[in-house]
Subunit: 330 residues, 2 copies
């Protein structure tokens, strides 16, 4: 295993030191492992808090800033953040209007966020939660009861974040967050496994001519192994899975997401196929992102996430955002 | 070789179709392989044109847009764009105030840009050129006489692009572009090789515990092979090489760039070490980028680029930019 680290125990804290040094717009509590906006909390604004295992960067710390999250909690690699971290983040993000927890559906994350919500509530912070479970690949899996939360997390954080910025109340922000999740679907494909530093070896084995269809972001098994094939066919498999679950139509927000080790050149090739597929179905990718947003360490592969837009969601997507990984319009 | 492609001959055109579908702000001439701003040329503005082999995305097409390039020409993977492409781009980017060619120092690129400049000149377009040669690792190499052009290309494109946007004349834009290059230095490290689709095998061999110090963006050999070690030590080797060539001091723009296959988590760990090194030297990373900007397909590794800032360069760096890969402030 060759990785740019100083030791497997220091991975998350060393990365947090780097985030702090690179982004003066953030305040990084390295000891408690919480990344805040430098100015958090903003009085009267609903606070948005997310978190999850490390190894999926820029998710979540890269989405802290104006128009998105107020705080993010990175757990150890592929490991849920602990309740203490989440409580620290929740209290630090509360400007008196309550806090929305954005939780990817993994068993550990769900339990720890629930505990943090309860304990923060005891300390007087009103907390609402939205569960992200957009991955159509499998019903239950290694870390999850029910569907996994993957690429739609970015959509939820961006759109709910934009609404929170307008001063909307907690119930409204939670409502739009849930709506985004309900209208979003994802499917992922792995060409290679990732390697967790502390494990020192790949999370699974994949043959030289095999791919894993429906992969999870921790390398959890998908639907099936299959022979590697042209990008066109692989994209079609992913899009069919999404379309079978929620038929594609109308104005659509699309993310073609790299798993961390895939060249951007290839992601654009996939995007071309995704756009062609959408056109066949009468759907239009009116907004899109192509790049590494919800990664799985060094895994090669991609995921596609779609969200069926409404006028409100498009307006909130277009609203200004200023985070390390997503910036526009201000 | 597992890649998300439809065939080795279609890589660049398929990716261009994806770029066209993803970015309505661009006009993509797939046949001639030129990526323009949708509104190019802008009358009275100096046009900026760059280009180079594909496989380094988002460089260059991802930097086409307001505040940066007017047009980019992707060659085949790791292969210079041809003069016809460059002429097409130059003519299409000329708003009557002339065109600046931003050329990375590789023999093929230099020759083809020179020919395109001459032939465009014959057709009445005034062309100036700036050569980017920031890589301190080696003096000559596989594709280059003199130093290679790498990460500083992004700095040159951003800063010269911002000046061009103000209506500055060609000689001024060329002057600032050259100044950015003169004040910039880079050094790269590979943990793994990349694989060119048409070749189907890695560009070089690297042992399980070896790294290549001073790697080029096409996998050209660097200074030396060395045993893999902690991020802290690797970052120090890179920074020493830069500092030996141009002592670091004062306000500095820093890019910690992923080679395409490196997790962002690890790039932040490297950034923390780079920031610590700069502090030792009395330099301050007042502006920075961490991520995949000048890549080498799926290579794992990173490069560091520094640029010693002046007030003018900082102001131009901060100016609004709106491209697929770099956006802020508008």
């Amino acid at each position: 295993m060759k990785k740019l680290i100083n030791g497997v125990d220091a991975v998350v804290t060393d990365a947090l030191r780097g985030i702090a040094a690179a982004h003066p717009s953030l305040r990084v509590d390295v000891e408690n492992k919480v990344v805040f906006r430098a100015q958090a909390p903003r009085p009267g604004k609903v606070g948005l808090v997310s978190g999850g295992g490390s190894g999926h960067e820029p998710l979540h710390a890269g989405f802290v800033g104006y128009g998105m999250l107020d705080a993010a909690c990175p757990g150890e690699v592929f490991t849920s953040p602990v309740p203490d971290q989440l409580i620290e983040a929740t209290k630090g993000a509360d400007g008196g209007a309550g806090v929305l927890h954005i939780v990817k559906n993994y068993t550990g994350d769900v339990l720890n966020f629930e505990m943090a919500a309860e304990l923060s509530g005891d300390e007087g912070v009103e907390v609402a939660s939205v569960l992200v479970n957009d991955d159509v690949a499998v019903q239950d899996s290694l870390y999850t009861a029910g569907r996994r939360g993957t690429g739609a997390t970015l959509f939820v954080e961006k759109i709910a974040g934009a609404l929170a910025e307008t001063g909307a109340p907690l119930a409204e922000v939670a409502r739009v967050a849930k709506e985004v999740n309900d209208r979003s679907r994802s499917f992922g494909v792995a060409l290679t496994p990732s390697t967790v530093p502390a494990a020192g070896k790949p999370t699974f084995e994949l043959g030289d001519t095999e791919i894993e269809l429906g992969i999870g972001i921790h390398g959890e098994p998908g639907r099936t192994r299959a022979p590697h094939r042209e990008a066109r066919e692989i994209a079609r498999i992913a899009m069919d899975a999404i379309n079978d679950d929620l038929p594609l139509s109308g104005e659509t927000l699309v993310l073609v997401n790299g798993m961390g080790g895939t060249p951007l050149l290839e992601l654009y090739i996939v995007f071309a196929e995704v756009a062609a597929y959408l056109a066949e179905k009468g759907a239009t990718p009116v907004r899109s992102l192509v790049g590494n947003y919800v990664t799985s360490l060094d895994m090669q592969g991609f995921s596609v996430t779609t969200c069926s837009l409404t006028d409100e969601l498009t307006r909130l997507w277009d609203a200004p955002v200023e985070t390390p990984a997503l910036r526009w319009g201000r």
